[in-house]
């Protein structure tokens, strides 16, 4: 189908519009808002498909112009299947309403059918029931229709048309089968991802099987333990006779050695007795020898002590002599020291005379200083008086007052200038003497005579009346009284009065133009004098803080002090105080005093040293005396010990003890045990140990046998337990095998179903997918690798290679603009596929409203390609006649070869 001519009359705001010779490709109908673009689209829809000529639908009733109430009329010429048709409808319920369908033949137009049948025939021709059905659901878009229809809203005619071109995507039976399979799979797997369910029967049975295996392993272990115990039992039983024989042998040997042991023990007790006797004898001999040795030691000590006492006596004499010499030396030294001390005391008495001289010098310096201060203070005081005098003069204004005066003076000048500029100059030249009476600006009239050849000048602010005799009265003045000038004059008078009063008060001539400057100068001078006075007062305060009389009092006091010193030291009357001389005297005095102190110190040290020598000599003598006393006591004690002992008796006692010891030793040798006798006990112990070991071994074996018997008795029923455990493992293993096979078979079936479905989708919707994705790439949408189709032939999402879960991205997740562009691409792709045999018309009302300029330009290229179609492409598509209505004509300027119509110009609008 292609639309060739459009004629609309009395449709809403369109009084008349004719568009003819519409061509095959892109047609752009542009005009500003409210031009009637949407009304035009509705007119096309109603005329071609949607309404009979006598329809009373609100769309038709509303289309009738409000004012004229004229019947709307639409006429469309179109081509379809190689024929040229014209449908025309005048919408009215009255006789005026009519509809015809005509076909153009060799002999011109011929009516095919009239009335309601015309509408029906057109629908039959195109194969749709309305302008929103079939291919037009895809291609005729209102202003807000760019989104794709949801699956349940897809027109059956469109779905059928798509299936006839593309093939069946999925049958109802397939969908039911898939739902049944999905439901069955839920037993083991999650529906979407087919991951194992947490609590699937396979998991449960696997867990049961693990438990059964653990139980079986436990029973098998018990079984192996029993087998092992049985072997152990047989081994232990086999060992038993030998163990018993070994124990009996040990018993017999123990009995034999026990008898031998009894005899050896008697011999051993005799031997032990003689050994004890020997030990006692040797002890007594050692004690006797010790006593004799001690006696000899005491004798040697006495002799040595007496010799020591003699030596101490000699030392005592020598010490006494040394002390006498020390005593003498100490006496001489003490006297020398006393002489030096006396000389020092005499010298120090001369220091007072020196101090008086020093005080005289200080007194004199102080007097000079006070006299200087008095002189300075008196000079400053004269200066102060002079300045104070200066400050008593004509009045002085503040800076603010002076500035105020200056402002007033300037303002007065300004006022004067303005008044002067506004004055009216009137001059009267007299050719012969004139007597005139002049009254101006409210002033009382005055007469004057103007001589010949003279000029009389008048300055008038508002008006003047000049009466020249009885010849004339000349009135000069402004047309309208200027009140501002009056106020200005008054204000000027007020300022001048104020200036005059102020300057007169300041003892200045008000007419002197420099009067204000003089005031300023006077102000500066006063400030300077005030500053100087402040400075002088500060200096006086510093020179005489308590006043000049106080300085005089201080001077007087210093002179009295000087007199007091001279009274005490009359010899200083003639002395002229001199600091240099004073320093020399003080140096000589200090030098002499230092020497005397050094001599005294030296004498004292010498005396201390001799006293120390004397003390040491006395101590040494005392020590020797004490030692002599101690030594004499020791000699006395040793002599007493010697007196109590007898050396011969001690020597005899020792000889007797030696003889007894030798006798005891001989007896020990006689009774010593043989080696065999000594070893018999050890041998007996070893045999007993061996017997104990063997008995223990036998007992252990018997215990082991008893334990194993108990253990083996406990194995009753183990066979049955083992059977049950193994049976449980088998049961669970088979159940798991069966359940796993079921689960895997379901999964396999589902995977195959998905695989086949995907293949089917690829095969069926490939042409739509490939065309849209090609264009999308051209648009710069490279994030997606394909369209995702559900169970319908229109896509419901996009396949993203970057999606983490592999799930398709829903179309409405994209931005508004991209969504609009993608939807339009899909519509154009579907339209192209459906128009392979017969071209289709697409009407796009205000498309791409949300595209940025770059995308918009690319979309225009795509629109151009879509309108041309690709009859020889991998998926052949037919051409589209694209009618674009827009209020942005400049955006569609770039469509080469597009037919452009300015609706604003072409549409005649009803008033």
């Amino acid at each position: 189908m292609k639309i060739r001519t459009l004629e609309v009359r009395n449709w809403a705001c369109i009084e008349s519009l004719i568009l003819d010779e519409l061509h095959d490709g892109i047609i752009v109908l542009h005009g500003p808002n409210r031009t009637g673009k949407s009304s035009l689209v509705q007119a096309i829809r109603s005329c071609l498909f949607d309404h009979d000529h006598d329809s009373q639908k609100s769309v038709i009733l509303d289309a009738s112009p409000h004012k004229t109430k004229a019947a709307p009329h639409v006429e469309i010429e179109f081509e379809h299947a190689g024929e040229h048709y014209r449908v025309s409808k005048t919408f009215a319920k009255t006789k005026e309403g009519q509809a015809t369908l005509e076909r153009h033949g060799p002999s011109g137009w011929s009516v095919l059918v009239r009335g309601k049948d015309a509408s029906k025939r057109v629908r039959d021709l195109i194969g749709v029931e309305s302008s929103r059905a079939g291919i037009f659901q895809m291609l005729w878009l209102g202003q807000r229709d760019f989104l794709l229809p949801v699956p349940r809203e897809i027109d059956p005619t469109l779905a059928k048309a798509l299936e006839s071109v593309l093939g069946t995507l999925i049958t109802g039976h397939d969908i039911d089968f898939k739902e049944r399979l999905d439901k069955a799979c839920e037993r083991w797997f999650t529906v979407k991802t087919m991951k194992d369910q947490k609590h699937s029967p396979v998991t449960r049975v696997t867990s049961d099987l693990d438990e059964a295996r653990a139980r079986k392993a436990d029973i098998d272990r018990q079984w192996a333990d029993a087998e092992s115990a049985l072997k152990e039992y047989d081994d232990a039983l086999a060992r038993q006779p030998e163990l018993r024989r070994n124990r009996e042998e040990a018993e017999a040997e123990q009995e034999r050695v026990q008898k031998e042991c009894a005899a050896v023990r008697q011999h051993k007790s005799q031997y032990e007795l003689t050994v004890e006797n020997l030990q006692q004898s040797e002890q007594l001999f050692k004690q006797a020898e010790q006593k004799l040795s001690e006696f000899d030691d005491t004798a040697r000590q006495l002799e040595s002590a007496m010799q020591e006492a003699n030596n101490l006596h000699l030392e005592q004499c020598s010490a006494q002599e040394k002390r006498a010499q020390a005593l003498q030396s100490a006496g001489g030294t003490r006297e020398s020291a006393e002489v030096v001390q006396q000389q020092l005391a005499q010298h120090q008495q001369g220091r007072a005379a020196l101090e008086y001289r020093q005080r005289l010098i200080a007194n004199r310096l102080e007097q000079e200083a006070i006299e200087g201060k008095i002189h300075q203070a008196e000079e400053l005081d004269d200066r102060r008086e002079e300045l104070e005098q200066k400050l008593v003069g004509p009045p002085v204004l503040t800076d603010g007052q002076i500035n105020d005066l200056r402002l007033k003076r300037d303002k007065a000048s300004e006022h004067r200038a303005r008044l002067a500029a506004s004055e009216i100059h009137v001059s009267i030249h007299a050719k012969k003497p004139l007597e005139v009476e002049i009254a101006s600006d409210g002033e009382p009239a005055g007469s004057a005579v103007i001589p010949v050849s003279q000029e009389r000048r008048l300055l008038i602010r508002q008006r003047a009346e000049i009466q020249i005799g009885d010849l004339a009265v000349i009135r000069v003045g402004r047309g309208k009284e200027d009140r501002d000038l009056e106020a200005l004059a008054n204000e000027l008078a007020e300022i001048e009065r104020s200036l005059r009063d102020t300057l007169t008060g300041a003892q200045l001539d008000p007419n002197d133009p420099t009067a204000i400057d003089q005031l300023a100068s006077r102000r500066l001078q006063q400030e300077e004098s005030t500053r100087q006075l402040k400075s002088v007062r500060a200096q006086i305060g510093k020179a005489a803080p308590s006043g000049i009389p106080s300085l005089h009092a201080q001077l007087k006091q210093k002179r009295a002090e000087q007199q007091t010193i001279l009274t005490r030291r009359p010899e200083l009357h003639s002395w002229i105080p001199d600091q240099a001389e004073m320093d020399r005297l003080r140096f000589e005095f200090d030098d002499r005093e230092g020497k005397l102190k050094s001599d005294a110190q030296e004498a004292k040290q010498m005396s201390d040293r001799l006293n120390e020598s004397l003390r040491q000599a006395t101590d040494a003598e005392q020590t020797i005396r004490t030692r002599i006393a101690g030594q004499l006591i020791r000699v006395q004690n040793l002599k007493e010990i010697m007196g109590r002992l007898d050396r011969a008796a001690l020597a005899h006692e020792r000889d007797v003890a030696r003889a007894r010891s030798a006798e005891a030793k001989r007896k020990v040798e006689e009774t010593t045990l043989s080696e065999a006798e000594q070893a018999i006990e050890t041998q007996y112990q070893n045999i007993r140990t061996a017997h104990a070991h063997r008995a223990e071994r036998l007992r252990s074996n018997e215990i082991l046998l008893a334990e194993l018997r108990v253990k083996l008795a406990g194995t009753e029923g183990l066979h049955q337990k083992r059977i049950q455990a193994e049976q449980a493992v088998n049961d669970k293993a088979r159940e798991l095998e069966r359940e796993s096979l079921h689960a895997q078979a379901h999964k396999h079936l589902k995977e195959l179903f998905e695989e086949v479905r995907q293949e089917q989708v690829r095969r069926t919707v490939g042409p739509i997918n490939d065309r849209v994705m090609g264009w999308a790439k051209q648009l710069g949408l490279t994030d997606y690798s394909g369209l995702s189709f559900g169970n319908e032939l229109l896509p419901e999402g996009l396949v993203s290679d970057h999606a983490a879960d592999g799930e398709p991205v829903a179309l409405d997740r994209e931005s508004y603009g991209t969504l609009e562009q993608l939807s339009l691409l899909i519509r154009l792709a579907v339209g192209g596929l459906l128009s392979q045999d017969e071209p289709a018309v697409a009407i796009l009302d205000d498309p791409l409203a949300h595209a940025d300029l770059g995308k918009h330009r690319k979309m225009l290229d795509i629109l151009a390609r879509a309108s041309r179609g690709e009859p020889h492409g991998p998926h052949p598509t037919g051409p589209l006649q694209l009618i674009i209505l827009t209020c942005h004509e400049d955006r569609f300027d770039y469509l080469d070869g597009a037919q452009q119509f300015d609706l604003a110009r072409l549409i005649h609008r009803g008033s």
Binding site: I170, E179, R180, A184, Q720, N730, V756
Partner: protein, 404 residues
Amino acid sequence: MRFLHAADLHLGLRVTRFGSDANGRVQEARLKAVEVMVDQAKARAVDFVLIAGDLFDDNHVDAATSRRALEMLETVNRPVYIIPGNHDPLTADSVFARPPWSMISDGCVRMLRTAEPVSLPGGTLLPCPLFAKNSLDDPTRWMPPRESGDIGIRIGLAHGSLNDRDNLPPDDHLIDRHTVDAKGLDYLALGHWHAPYRHADRNGVVRTVYPGVHEPMRFRESPDFSTGWSAYSNTARTDLFSDDGKGRALIVTIEQAGAPPIIDEIETGRFQWRDESHTLRDEQELSALIDELGHRENQDNQLLRLHLSGTLPASALMRLDELDATLAGGQGGILSRYRWAELDAERLHAEPTDGEIQDLAGSGIVRAVYERLKSEAGSADPQVQSLARQSLLILYRFAKEVRR
């Protein structure tokens, strides 16, 4: 002299293959078979009963089994001579060393713990008890030869492998095949081998006899099928321990010393172990089989392995649920009425007609999935094949469900 000869009762049999309930019933069947044996002994008025070893499957059987066995044997009311076999040897943990067997003294049940002659009315019994699971010794070696002038009937009672063939393990208590001749025996009652076996002496008279088990314990047709039981013999020859599908004991009559023994078999078995294969060509055959299996008698005493092969339409294949609903993950089916049953349908293929497939799978994705699975089901890889077959069954089922 008339006596009953039985062996290898294996009470408390180790079976672990059939699920706890069926396993318990298999064990119980062996005890019930003893009751049959006792009744026969009484009915045939035997003088005594000989049990040639392996009364118990293991020395560690539970007390209940041990006690019930003794109680049943005591009801024979005539001497029951028992020797321990290699499954219940006289070791420290022997079942016979525990109560109640350790306390029997002068009852009719005689536990022969030593290798020494036992006097019988009209003869002598020479028992050969075993003391270990394995031994290189011939348990009959101790038997003294017949003394000259001894005219009594001499009967040997032993457990081990008769050394009359190659490849027997040397520690399997090998018994000299000429024992009867060497020891002057009239009858050597043996146990150990599970199938009946008879051996003739130098004169061609059968005097050495294995009676076989008193209750079958395996599927005869599928020797590789493991019930969980294993022999305590180190032999690789499973045939020695394979019964012939029947349970029996022998009634032996010996008129006098030197006379040939008269041997009668009596059937004592309770359970039928059936392993069946059926090739099906159409749905009618499957229907007939389902019907037949559903109406068989004594299902509660049958252990059934059912192998199906052939090619059927898809709809028919789904009828397998009627036999065994576990194939589809469900429960129930005719086979569940049996004591135990297992259906092997690996070689039963579905070959749906075009109409069937169109009806079931349509022409869309399910159909394509069907084609893929069908191709996989023909794979040489058994795992792929198994998974595909299972998936196909599910596909049939779901497709049919949603068609409804």
